[in-house]
Subunit: 312 residues, 4 copies
């Protein structure tokens, strides 16, 4: 993969110390000087313009749901390709300046973090002002600068800004996870691993009732399971949607490629956004008759009966 | 087609004068000395052994339904191929020896003909003995021989045996039709005409609930309509069936060939029995996205995204 | 059941000694003087006119398939109701007059029996004339009368006509079974047993592609499995069919009754032909959420949310 | 409807001058002193605690998509009921203090408004600082207070704060609309109007492949069309979703109520969130056999065949 070249630049949703930063380091431990980007839009535009070889952005959180900005940015403009994914636990700490004395009168963080730490805040800092920041990492910076008393942020952000940990694991739901994707330019897909996913944007032809059922049937009839489906507005009129979909399998798997061709034939548009190894390594649920061998065997059977037909 | 060679022998369900004979002459007007066969089994065995190049047998009547012997004979033994089909009206006359005087005390014919002429018989010959014969043509012969007073048969059979027509069009349902198929050995299919049918025998993998729904979905998802479906026993235990199916389209049509491969993958066995021009010349009901062009376009789109992916 | 009254008359497809006779005695051991009928049509007409309280007729053979006459007679005329079913092995013997000497030069039997005993005949009586009879029981009578040398018939028919058994179990397939139904007039269904079937004739609204898929979906969505489906011509034009269907479950089962109402809404016509205990006592394949309790629970949930809605 | 009582309090997503405020005044022109709420959560909690009789909140924007906070708040806690919906165009103006001179060096507004007016800003105020605010109405207030030079807000907000209009209709997409719902406590649904929608939250039983297909089939088989489907995380682990769905029709429509019972039987949980008149007055796409009359007719047919069965 091009990304193994240590000289290429990799972007991520910054600033330094965000969970995207954390995820990038875990996914590509040898990455050198990754480039923080001010927004998902900037991060993906930088891929399109060639400023970076790839960018890592969040796509989904187990509590907050899809990251709309990422879905919409993938759907718009020139094509991009998801190269890899990673999911990491979302672990929040409360960080203060070293030596700062309680009481904490103001807490700054990203609004999502406020939402996810509501119980801890209600119990421990019921009277603190809650101040929104652009990111949890930016919140840490503003505490380090003395603007507020405490930040809710990652341990990495706290460490990067020299803050002390007042409390750790303060999220209401300790199992919260965020999934991130590494997005690069179009190109040949990476080889199948046996535990892959494929991401698509699917546009129906018209506001036809039953279109979603038809779409799902194209997958189901070839034994391809969906792991995620999001409807997003086409930005035209209320009630017009496209679907962002993850399915099990790789575009080089026969059952996936036949399903894609089926979708292409019945849908208004299908945008392929990449096939890549699943973060959890789970193998697809298999249905009898849908392996590559089954497809190959059927094809040679067909060739036989289309031609001279011996046997049958 | 091999059948255009005037020297090849063609069989049909005999004896001379049957509706099969009539259908054969209509389908292949130049056929010379076709060979009457004593039964459907004999007619198709003669194809398998090479005694004849093809045989014409009935497969379906609009009143009586499927001809089980034909379906079962196609399903068993070595493979065969349907080369053509034709449907002809079933027109019955009552034939007597020339100069024979009424009253008619005995009427001989095939049991199906008795069933189809019940009203005329009840009204006109309520007291006649009804005698079963092996075929309507054989009935005509036995009347010519003086065994019985009248035969219900085709005009052709009456003419061939020198009988006079006492009454014509005596069937209860004047729209009754029988469909016949010309069956030859396996070989390359005849070229698509744009109004074709394909015949299959489909065996499920097990007594799985929902198997028929799965089978129909394989056709429906590719926009292939069925024109006939018959369940037939597999001759093992009660409640085990296979399906004899006619679908619109030709095995060289992409939507048909993909459906066939899908069936081959999920079914226990699929026997292809030929693609041939429809007797009624009706074009298939078309669904958007299922033409050969649509398939070809989808395949080249797939190749593009599987490879370097420009555009998308 | 009315049939427990020993004074009512019960008909069956005769003459005495047929497999229908055998089946009737097994199904209703206390039946007194059952009435042999000359044909399926006569047997069912006798129910319609009140001549008999019920008639037993064959509906399906594991080798020959459906008995078209029975399906068509149930579909036509005024409504009838299947009250019970039974399946019995089809066991053929070769019967001769006591003391008759071999060689057997002529064998008489029903054409189906000829077909099912082909191997034995080829091996043991390759040169005998094969003479068709209206039934295996009638064949036994004609041998007893000295018309032919041997009959293929049931042991019961041989015994009834005083014939000796030359060979037993002469069918090619020793597992062959025939299923019979006891048919009465319309009336309340017998109570559910937990292992029931329901029989329907289903007519589509028009020659709409996909109609069969819709019909199967009405069953599948309520978890109702089909055990038999036959297409039969509507006797109008070639290619128009209705479906004769057996499904698991009883008309008083919620999932069956909702499926029936669904069919009634989307189909041209649905004829209910009875709910009755399965001959094999097999319980229906159950799908979660489709028991009567599940339906009742869903109905009370709906009532709650349609009304004041507490909880939810 | 309780809301016609002028003394009840109605909440909305405030502060005064938001699009929610605008929508509320259009939907309920006679409303007196509606109560601005600081967040969607507060607005819906106020309904649950009885502080207000109902609250109006946004649920969907044609450009931004679903309002996750609203979906999640409806799904959590005790049940609520959607009473009505309204869609209004999203029309943004740029407002300044009267007499303020250009150049505009800072523009304050909600981040969504920044996103939707990107083109106008790039062309007309390429160098202005873009400052995020909690709402467009709050932005107007801060301009009136002299904190920033210009606000992007609604005309209503500009008027309420005494600002002058520098430019109107500055959104990139002039057709953008936001849909709002009026949410009250559980209770009997309002009567069907013939052009209604029903909103549901649907939870699958497990991570079963094909569950969404099953859900859609429950609707489709009864001819109920979906107008919106959103997947939202169940907040447990990545990859677990529930579906927020709008379907055509009213809970008192037979086809809808049968579909709901079907979903209740096969799903883990179904939360009914109300049936209410569509904002666009569009009648449902009708499929033959799915009217209330069709259901009633099927029910009486069933009763007839379950009972004495005359006719059929």
């Amino acid at each position: 993969m091009i990304l193994e070249d240590p000289d290429v630049s990799i972007g991520y949703l910054g600033p330094a110390g965000t969970f995207s930063h954390e995820a990038l380091v875990q996914l590509l431990p040898d990455v050198v000087d990754p480039v923080p980007m001010a927004s998902v839009t900037r991060a993906l535009e930088a891929v399109r313009t060639g400023l970076v070889a790839a960018s890592l952005v969040p796509i989904e959180n187990s509590v907050e749901g899809a990251v709309s900005a990422t879905l919409d940015e993938l759907a718009a403009g020139t094509g991009l390709q998801i190269l890899a994914e990673i999911a990491i636990p979302v672990r929040f700490c409360v960080a203060v300046r070293p030596g700062a004395r309680i009481p904490v009168r103001s807490v700054v963080t990203h609004p999502h973090a406020i939402a996810q730490c509501r119980s801890w805040l209600a119990e421990n800092l019921p009277d603190a002002d809650l101040v929104p920041a652009a990111s949890t990492a930016a919140a840490a910076v503003s505490v380090a600068n003395g603007e507020y008393d405490a930040a809710i942020c990652s341990l990495r952000a706290a460490a990067a800004t020299g803050l002390a940990i007042l409390a750790d694991d303060v999220a209401d739901n300790n199992d919260a996870e965020t999934r991130f994707i590494l997005v690069g330019p179009p190109g040949p897909p990476s080889p199948p691993t046996g535990a892959d996913k494929t991401t698509l944007d699917i546009y129906m032809r018209a506001d036809q009732p039953g279109a979603l059922l038809e779409i799902l049937t194209e997958f189901a009839v070839r034994g391809v399971n969906l792991t995620r489906i999001e409807s997003r507005p086409t930005k035209t009129t209320l009630g017009n949607y496209y679907f962002s979909v993850d399915c099990e399998g790789h575009i080089l798997d026969e059952r996936v490629s036949e399903a894609l061709m089926g979708l292409h034939r019945i849908c208004g548009n299908v945008r392929y956004l990449g096939s890549y190894a699943r973060h959890d390594g789970r193998s697809p649920l298999s249905r009898r008759g849908t392996s590559n061998n089954d497809f190959a065997e059927a094809r040679s059977w067909l060739a036989r009966i289309q031609g001279l037909r011996e046997g049958g």
